[in-house]
């Protein structure tokens, strides 16, 4: 059994790929190239920072005419809208203007209607259409999808762990553990816990530079309260998105249940609470 570890700066963070298999190290390295290429492809399509990305082009034109989507973009938007619907708009990919205002996203000079939200997004067979001027940011979900896309290109006989700055998905997760970073003020460094689903993602305010949290409550449009939340789900996309929800609203058992997900949150005092379906 051989094992390789690689790490590249992608998705705004460090993307670490571990592959294990009976193949030679060279072969595993070649497979890892394909994994990184798949992740990088999603980054290009869904980047808010790149004016030439599919996302930026969609933001610039979809309020004027139907914009044709790639299957990757369609999948992510369908999932995002389902999350918005199931949470009554608590998950909303339309908070971008507020993030631009706070300097967390670049200003693309696009006009937006102040009251625009996920309900103004219409997906049809022709593509996507915005009923109001709005800007979609997939920062709360695309990283997870990029990890899923990396896993999707793996040959069956290779086992893998992809960790994109704390958003993790594994093929052989049943026997694995993860280390959840403790809050800075705590005496403990990490909390070790067993994987209970293929993917996990953590949200917390402890790492934001300049003390500005990038998780925004779409209704209050204020910063979220600080404690760490780890969500375990079947896909990294769901774990990535749901972790923000649990972070904003502790009482979201129904939503977790609907998506067959589980959540572990850790308070400032290091208390651990599980929300399971």
């Amino acid at each position: 059994m051989n094992e390789i570890h690689r790490c590249q700066p992608l998705l705004g963070t460090f993307v670490e790929v571990t592959l294990r298999g009976n193949q030679t190290e060279e072969r595993l390295l070649t497979i890892s190239q394909e994994v990184f290429a798949a992740i990088s492809n999603i980054q290009q399509k869904m980047s808010f920072h790149d004016v030439n990305s599919e996302l930026s082009k969609m933001n610039a034109t979809a309020h004027q005419y139907d914009f044709k989507l790639t299957s990757d973009m369609e999948r992510v938007l369908l999932q995002a809208l389902e999350l918005s619907q199931k949470t009554g708009g608590l998950f909303d990919v339309c908070v971008a203007p507020k993030l631009v205002q706070r300097g967390l996203l670049p200003d693309n000079q696009l006009a937006t209607d102040v009251d625009s939200c996920w309900q103004d997004i219409v997906l049809t067979q022709e593509g996507i259409r915005f009923n109001k001027k709005l800007q979609i940011d997939l920062g709360g979900i695309a990283k997870g999808y990029a990890i899923d896309a990396g896993i999707a290109v793996l040959p069956g006989e290779v086992s893998a762990i992809i960790n994109a700055g704390g958003d993790i998905r594994m093929t052989n997760w049943e026997t694995e553990t993860i280390h959840i970073r403790a809050l800075e003020s705590e005496g403990q460094l990490f909390y070790e816990t067993q994987m209970c689903k293929p993917a996990a993602a953590t949200s917390a305010a402890y790492f934001q530079e300049d003390g500005i949290a990038a998780i925004m409550h779409p209704k209050q449009r204020e910063q979220a309260p600080p404690f760490s939340v780890t969500v375990f789900a079947d896909s990294a996309m769901l774990a990535d998105a749901l972790t923000k929800l649990v972070y904003l609203q502790v009482d979201c058992k129904d939503v977790l249940q609907y998506f067959s997900a589980e959540a572990l949150y850790i308070t400032h005092d290091g208390e651990q609470h599980w929300i399971t379906h």
């Binding site: 790490c7 590249q8 700066p9 705004g12 460090f14 970073r181 460094l189 996990a200 760490s228």
Partner: protein, 179 residues
């Protein structure tokens, strides 16, 4: 202070003195040779010992808006006119070793993290955190590196790497492309 507490305190002091501010988490990904093969395949390359003078360092700093910490650069020029560079950038606290490939036009062809290091500034000053090392030797502390896997937490930014790459592309622009 009783004898036991004194011993604990002495051990804690010794540990933090010998292993200052936690070389707790260091992960090695690729060797420079592996990175070179991934970025450039079999292409032949020649070592260039680059020594930047003060004016060059200053000019790269101005153009890239990034500090130039070292005047020396480990670089290899490939037969097709590209470059393979081994460098490091300061991450959250510690040096991160990187390998970068630039093509003959100075565009980034590949970036690999070779060694990632991280310390935990706030925790290492916390006595409760240090207590976990009481009575443990160097061997056990090193083992901790390996035991901590699959870290999940709020996303770490790779902005420092982006700044480092920006510095290297400006180094190409001002120095390497003329070699």
């Amino acid at each position: 202070m009783n004898r036991r507490r004194f011993c604990l305190a002495a051990t804690a002091t010794l540990v933090t003195t010998l292993f200052p501010v936690g070389r707790v988490y260091a992960k090695t990904y690729l060797t420079p040779e592996q990175a070179r093969a991934l970025i450039w395949g079999d292409e032949a390359m020649t070592r260039h010992d680059i020594k930047l003078d003060d004016a060059q360092m200053d000019s790269i700093k101005k153009a890239s808006k990034t500090r130039v910490r070292h005047s020396e650069l480990k670089a290899w020029k490939t037969d097709s006119g590209g470059w393979f560079i081994l460098d490091n950038v300061i991450g959250k606290h510690e040096n991160i070793d990187i390998a970068v490939g630039l093509d003959a036009q100075g565009a980034v062809k590949g970036i690999e993290i070779l060694v990632y290091r991280e310390t935990y500034g706030d925790q290492v000053r916390n006595p409760k955190w240090r207590a976990q090392f009481h009575g443990k030797g160097h061997h056990e502390i090193l083992k901790l590196d390996k035991q901590i896997r699959n870290i999940s937490g709020a996303t770490l930014s790779c902005r420092h790497i982006t700044d480092g790459i920006n510095r290297l592309t400006h180094t190409w622009d001002q120095v390497l492309q003329q070699l």
